[in-house]
């Protein structure tokens, strides 16, 4: 699980790991929320939950031709996801769904930030051009949700809700690249880009920001 950041010191590694766990859980929970709305069965819940949590990173790795996937290397996660699904199916009532959505806003923002930056970094290490690295960062962050919505027969929320989610990932990814270019400090780019994404995302939710839409009918 530490493989993304082999050069970090122990505190940073511990923090990264904690955020990774929190973010993956948040992404998995968005899958459970959508699956609950559609009243999928346990197979559907587990698959949609897994898609939400690992779909973005898996697509990135297929495009970059990287193996093994995160969920193959750390397959213990699959048991955790499966357990989460069983617990959710037993205890989650309809009235809990909106509460869950609200509760995961902060962890989801942490996941958005971490997966954007780790996706960008992995693509850069693979020798991708800058724009491709940014695109991989954004896709790592949003394509779990996109695949989740496609599997649930919905237009992906990230494509249609006019909320700044991918856009913030896009900005944060460029910020990370710019910082990485300007400083030789190892963890400053991650820190700045990470905080920027989290703050922008939470602000966007708080202020109900809408991204520009089609101009005229």
């Amino acid at each position: 699980m530490f493989s993304y950041y082999p050069h970090y010191d122990t505190v940073a590694t511990g923090l990264t790991l904690a955020i990774e766990i929190i973010g993956t859980f948040a992404f998995a929970l968005t899958g459970i929320v959508v699956a609950a709305r559609k009243r999928l069965d346990i197979v559907g819940v587990a698959m949609v939950c897994g898609l939400s949590a690992f779909g973005g990173g898996t697509l990135r790795d297929i495009l970059l031709d990287r193996r093994p996937f995160f969920w193959v290397e750390h397959h213990q996660w699959l048991w955790i996801i499966l357990g989460l699904c069983v617990i959710a199916m037993i205890f989650l009532k309809t009235k809990h769904i909106e509460l869950t959505e609200k509760m995961i806003q902060v962890p989801d923002a942490l996941g958005l930030a971490l997966f954007t930056i780790s996706g960008t970094e992995i693509a850069l290490i693979s020798g991708s051009p800058l724009l491709i690295a940014v695109l991989m960062g954004v896709m790592t962050a949003i394509f779990g949700g996109v695949l989740r919505d496609i599997a649930c027969n919905e237009i992906p929320q990230a494509f249609t809700d006019h909320r700044p989610y991918a856009v913030i990932a896009f900005i944060g990814s460029w910020l990370y690249i710019a910082m990485d270019y300007w400083t030789s400090n190892e963890w400053l780019p991650t820190l700045i880009a990470f905080s920027t994404i989290v703050v922008l995302r939470l602000l966007a939710i708080k202020l109900n920001v809408v991204i520009p839409s089609w101009m005229r009918k």
Copy 2:
């Protein structure tokens, strides 16, 4: 076509081949049934039919980074699928659709069993951890249908019909792995796991078994 089971004797190989043909036909026919309901054109019917028959194995091979795909190595199958589609479009009337669905229950169960076990075995040979091998077995069996339903703009039946299909594949795959561990017999694990999956599946249809759902509204 024998490449999955290079160590089997001739009778077993012949049997495996026969079941493989029956199973692939059954999976292809589920594609034709769904495509007929949606009144797709010949291109749609052929693509959905091909997705149903080969989608699960192809996704598995992409995830495991294996080449060539089954349908590339045995491309004669594509002509058979195409012929099947043309025949279906000429002769299949609406009243035949339900009959077809009923008729393919047994071949479909054979396909479920064979593709689960071959998927598990292929993943094990590729060095996958046990849980990943089970997941690959299940995905080989169900993702043809999942991709078929997504292409037809439906929530995948395997995710939402509360019937034990993937769940039986999951059980059968673990059984295969356990048997493989306990015995040195070459074909006993396959035989036991295969029969278990087929029997459980047909029993589930017969007894109208429903898998646990969301507990409360």
Copy 3:
């Protein structure tokens, strides 16, 4: 961008490049038209536009295990696509949508022809059997649109509109292979197959041709 046709002379290369640009733009515009109908936000428009333009070639390359993808090697295209999306979102009014659809019929036919032939050629060079090469040619041409429609929660137009699009690609691809076998001329097969696809496609639109459907209810 010339990598598909390293052996062509300068005029042919220039022509190919021009058609490639026109075709990619046409495919991208079909994405914008569908995204506009669904009133997607800028993220959705950009992703669907990119899927339409590069989805077919990317899927082909994943199946053939080729890297880098076109849009990774020529990532400048992504800026052009992004600019196209921004311009479309500012200037495209509802009344323009049908006009755009009409205007892109010819460029789209050029794209259909070029991507079918280049897809077939790439698959042949990769050592694919003939039928697989034809399938790859057809998929290169149609799967951008298929992925576009799936992402927009529609049954893919190519599967359901009963118009000859993939069928013409199929015919053109076989014609290319047959010509390639019969003549040692370097660019005659491309020229003949290309013209045939374009002419057949435009004729099909003009004459409102419908491909055979299900025979009876």
